[in-house]
């Protein structure tokens, strides 16, 4: 291994791997990615991997739409010889209150301005899209056929292998334990497998990003919240799209493999708790079986837990440390980092490569929590 690199990326989730790939594509190939476990061992390997463009803020809708376009050709884009599992069966967002239904109309306007092909559907049409849906208590729904989900393991591998081919090095089962700063600039990264000099460091450690930033004197207002999910045995196709509710806080989809993946979003105290709970198992089944009664017969085969890296306005933070120039944190994805990672990685790589981007990276700075220019989003679980 070499003594030093132009860029060291901390974290081998989709954000770190996509960033490595985009940097290499721009000719920045003297890059090392350090991951404490294996690639996708963090939130990326635990997520629902849902991809939706039906957002309420123009910014999120745009990032998600541009990311979706990248997911649509990810194999070719990265030169990956396995499918990344993208399935565009759509997202059916259901409204359970009048207020939510009114908000959905506003969201649709935002989406339509960007050219996203979403529409309002009444309950009859909702049942045509998902025949087993119990629409009792619902006001209506919106549907976008180009939403869907992908395989988080293969998407991450696609980026990683593409980056590796262009010269990026990967060091797995290696934890970053310290950071060295010299004259106000990041200088080196200490790991369990030695110390490496670096001119630039990108902190993509998700819920662990704040503690790494702290090592260079930065406070990042991101907390870790446990979110659980479960999967059932595979069955014949029952529905093609994701069904999601903000009000009742659930999402459920059938994967191409036939199993159903689902979760609910309970409010929990911040923690790094990776344990599954029986409370989740029961409540999740109660909430989901009400919406989709046919699922009562399905066996749950596995449940797991992961973390959301929550920021105050539930949107990502991209920030350079004040006292350690060249140290960037990219975190705070608040439960939707998978679907935006392709576009965020481009934004970050353009910035480091000195290339223009149609998006202004500065609006993601954590300064917004002082200036009040928050990135507010009405459509978030």
């Amino acid at each position: 291994m070499k003594k030093g690199y132009d860029v060291i990326i901390i974290g081998g989730g989709i954000v770190g791997c996509a960033t490595a790939f985009e940097l290499a594509k721009r000719g920045i190939t003297d890059v090392l990615l350090v991951e404490k476990g294996y690639l996708t061992s963090g939130a990326t390997g635990r997520c629902g991997a849902g991809i939706r463009q039906q957002w309420g803020s123009e910014l999120n809708a745009r990032i998600a739409m541009e990311s979706t376009h990248l997911f649509e050709n990810l194999e070719e884009y990265t030169g990956y010889n396995h499918s990344c599992g993208l399935h565009q069966g759509g997202y059916l967002l259901v409204a359970y209150t009048e207020k939510e239904w009114a908000q959905f109309q506003e969201n649709l306007e935002v989406q339509h301005r960007l050219g996203i092909d979403s529409r309002a559907v009444d309950l009859k049409e909702a049942r045509e899209i998902v025949p087993c849906l119990n629409t009792e208590g619902m006001f209506g729904a919106t549907f976008c056929a180009k939403d869907g989900h992908a395989d988080p393991f293969h998407c991450t591998q696609a980026y990683a292998q593409g980056a590796r081919r262009m010269g990026v090095e990967f060091l797995t089962y290696t934890e970053v334990t310290g950071l060295q700063v010299k004259s106000g600039h990041i200088a080196a990264v200490e790991t369990t497998n030695g110390t490496f000099e670096a001119k630039t460091v990108i902190n993509c450690a998700n819920v662990r990003a704040p503690e790494l930033a702290k090592m260079v004197g930065e406070d990042i207002p991101v907390t870790s919240e446990r979110h659980q999910a479960l999967v059932t045995e595979p069955v014949a196709p029952l529905m093609d799209c994701m069904v999601m509710s903000f009000h009742r806080s659930y999402y459920v989809q059938q994967t191409p493999h036939g199993s159903f993946v689902m979760g609910i979003g309970p409010k929990e105290e911040p923690s790094f708790n990776f344990h599954s709970s029986w409370q989740f198992l029961e409540k999740n089944c109660a909430v989901i079986c009400e919406a989709l009664p046919v699922l009562r017969k399905l066996n749950v085969v596995r449940q797991w837990a992961g973390q959301y890296d929550l920021s105050p306005d539930r949107n990502p933070i991209i920030d350079e440390a004040k006292e350690a120039a060249g140290f960037y944190s990219v975190c705070g994805f608040s439960g939707h980092g998978f679907m935006v990672a392709p576009r965020i990685a481009i934004l970050m790589a353009n910035h480091l490569a000195g290339q223009d981007d149609t998006m202004d990276i500065r609006m993601f700075s954590k300064e917004r929590y002082q200036t009040g220019k928050l990135l507010l989003e009405p459509a978030v679980v």
Binding site: P266, E268, S276, L281, E282, N299
Partner: protein, 98 residues
């Protein structure tokens, strides 16, 4: 075991060849193989294939079997219908301790 076509994971129908290809491409643990291939994600949740894959890893990396990292054992230990779980929740009448 020599036969490349021997099935190691019966639930997901994965041959020894598929598993070996994963190991040769750099997988070090059962968890990584599981995520690449779905080995151990079927109804039996790895009860059969876990040890078989561990043996392949041990022999490829020349390490004792005990040193191969076991994946996390995830609940429920046995498949349970969603309806039974849902009813348990309603019976506890908002047993919402989360």
């Amino acid at each position: 075991m020599d036969d490349k076509n021997t099935i190691l994971c019966r639930c997901e129908d994965l041959t020894r060849e598929t598993i070996l290809a994963c190991i040769e491409s750099g997988c070090h643990t059962i968890d990584e193989i599981k995520r690449m291939t779905r080995a151990g994600m079927g109804p039996c949740q790895g009860r059969t294939c876990r040890m078989l894959i561990a043996q392949e890893l041990a022999s490829y990396y020349h390490v004792p079997l005990e040193d191969v990292l076991m994946p996390t054992f995830r609940p429920p230990t046995k498949p349970v219908p969603m309806g039974i779980l849902a009813d348990a929740f309603s019976e506890e009448e908002g047993g919402d301790s989360e």
